[in-house]
């Protein structure tokens, strides 16, 4: 009853896909976090002047990721750009993550009480010293759970890059399904791998949060 044609090499193939998923997530979060922090800082410091930036980010937050992938990939072909589908995947996911990240950062900064910033400035600290030593450390604690959520959601959104021809975890699983015709088993395993990867990230995050909470 429990016989299966799934071979070790099939499993290995899926794990290679999982590795691509992790790489995509890491690259996208790197792009997304760096530009998200920059945009979020701008949004918090100059809410009015940075309004156009907010509109642009809103577009990337609102248009379904699948559409963005396909449009970007076509644009790449039309413009004749010589970049890999993987690079397109990282870029699109990165911008998408940046759009969310900037809101997370902005709300984190705004959560720092104005009185605390006043106290910092009253000690002679400059705007940048206040930002660096008081605002950012506190905003990080507020923003971190939201950022962690974003990592997990981006990890799952990487599955969409299979539509532009990248063999990540879901795409590799599907080709195994096509070969051995056991969709339930294979998708269960794929789901389990996603779960374990998420669990790993969440555990790391929890440990960090706990360390901060001990001080409060």
């Amino acid at each position: 009853m429990f016989s299966t044609s799934l071979t070790a090499s099939d499993l290995l193939f899926m794990l290679q896909g999982a590795w691509v998923t992790l790489q995509l997530t890491a690259a996208a979060m790197l792009i997304g976090t760096l530009s998200g922090v920059l945009c979020g800082l701008l949004r918090a410091a100059l809410p009015r002047a940075s309004l156009p930036l907010a509109w642009v980010l809103d577009v990337f937050r609102s248009v379904p990721l699948l559409i963005q992938f396909v449009l970007f990939n076509s644009l790449k072909s039309i413009a004749g750009l010589d970049i890999s589908a993987f690079a397109v995947g990282c870029l699109v996911l990165g911008i998408y993550a940046a759009a969310f990240c900037s809101e997370i950062v902005r709300s984190g900064i705004q959560a720092v009480p104005a009185n605390l910033r006043r106290a910092a400035r009253s000690l002679g600290m400059s705007y940048w010293q206040d930002l660096r030593f008081v605002v950012l450390p506190l905003a990080t604690r507020v923003a971190f759970p939201g950022w962690l959520n974003l990592v997990l959601s981006v990890m799952k959104d990487t599955a969409l890059v299979m539509w532009i021809g990248i063999f990540e975890l879901l795409r590799t699983s599907q080709s195994v399904v096509t070969r051995i015709q056991e969709p339930l088993l294979v998708l269960c395993i794929a789901g389990l791998i996603y779960y374990l990867m998420s669990l790993m990230v969440a555990q790391l995050g929890n440990r960090l949060e706990k360390r901060w909470q001990e001080n409060d």
Partner: protein, 240 residues
């Protein structure tokens, strides 16, 4: 010397300070009393440039606080301020709270900043709380930490903005004792306070603020003991 000359300060259409003049000499302790909304706290925020003013001038040791070219970060190094809300930096230990500005603003070495911080924290009676995070302290202890934090910058002036108003009654005494200690050491201080008896004890002069103006000013015995103006007497009757 702090020279406040016909200062006007508004928030939008609401004028809170309406032409206050007041001079505080080196070594003097001046208390400002008065009802809420009389402009006393606002005036303190103007003295170190945390709030801009609309008219008049404030000079600290001859430096025009609100002149465009004034380096406020530098000026604030010599004006310590303690707020009603103690505003401890929650992510730093008590020691780190006090060390931060001397390290980053004055550029002291870690050893020097730590020595200064320990000295000031000992001064306010928190020598046993160095490694503790502020969240674990009582309000009174956090306020004393805030005083040590301001003192660690070696300021020439200390401003206290209702430093005991947000404290539980049983914690007021320890903070007032710390302030009294400073006054006895000759620190130049301006206290905005509702602690009338304390103001009478420690002040060289007391100013009664009303409607954004200095209504009556003089020695504590005169203003609190024997007020000349009916409004001052009424106010004192309502709070004592």
């Amino acid at each position: 010397m702090i020279e406040i000359d016909k200062v006007h300060k508004s928030f939008g259409d609401l004028e809170v300070v309406k032409g206050v003049s007041l001079t505080v000499n080196k070594g003097e302790v001046v208390s400002i009393i008065g009802g809420s909304g009389s402009g006393k706290s606002t005036l303190l925020m103007c003295i170190n440039g945390l709030e801009p003013i609309q008219r008049g001038s404030i000079r600290v040791d001859g430096t025009e606080v609100h002149a465009p070219g004034t380096d406020l970060n530098k000026l604030r190094q010599k004006i310590g301020i303690v707020f009603q809300q103690w505003n401890a930096f929650p992510h730093l230990t008590v020691l780190e709270n006090v060390m931060l500005a001397p390290r980053k603003v004055l550029g002291l070495s870690k050893q020097d900043a730590e020595a200064m911080a320990v000295k000031q924290l000992t001064h306010v009676g928190l020598a046993d709380k160095l490694k503790v995070f502020p969240g674990k302290l009582s309000g009174g202890q956090q306020q004393r930490m805030a005083i040590a934090r301001a003192l660690a910058m070696s300021p020439d002036y200390m401003l206290f903005d209702e430093a005991t108003s947000a404290l539980d009654p049983q914690l007021v005494g320890e903070v007032l004792d710390t302030m009294r200690l400073l006054a006895e050491e000759g620190m130049t201080m301006i206290l905005v306070t509702h602690e009338i008896r304390f103001a009478r004890d420690v002040s060289d002069r007391v100013a009664f603020f009303r409607n954004g103006l200095v209504h009556e000013i003089g020695s504590p015995d005169q203003v609190i003991g024997n007020p000349q103006m009916a409004e001052t007497a009424d106010f004192l009757k309502s709070v004592l």
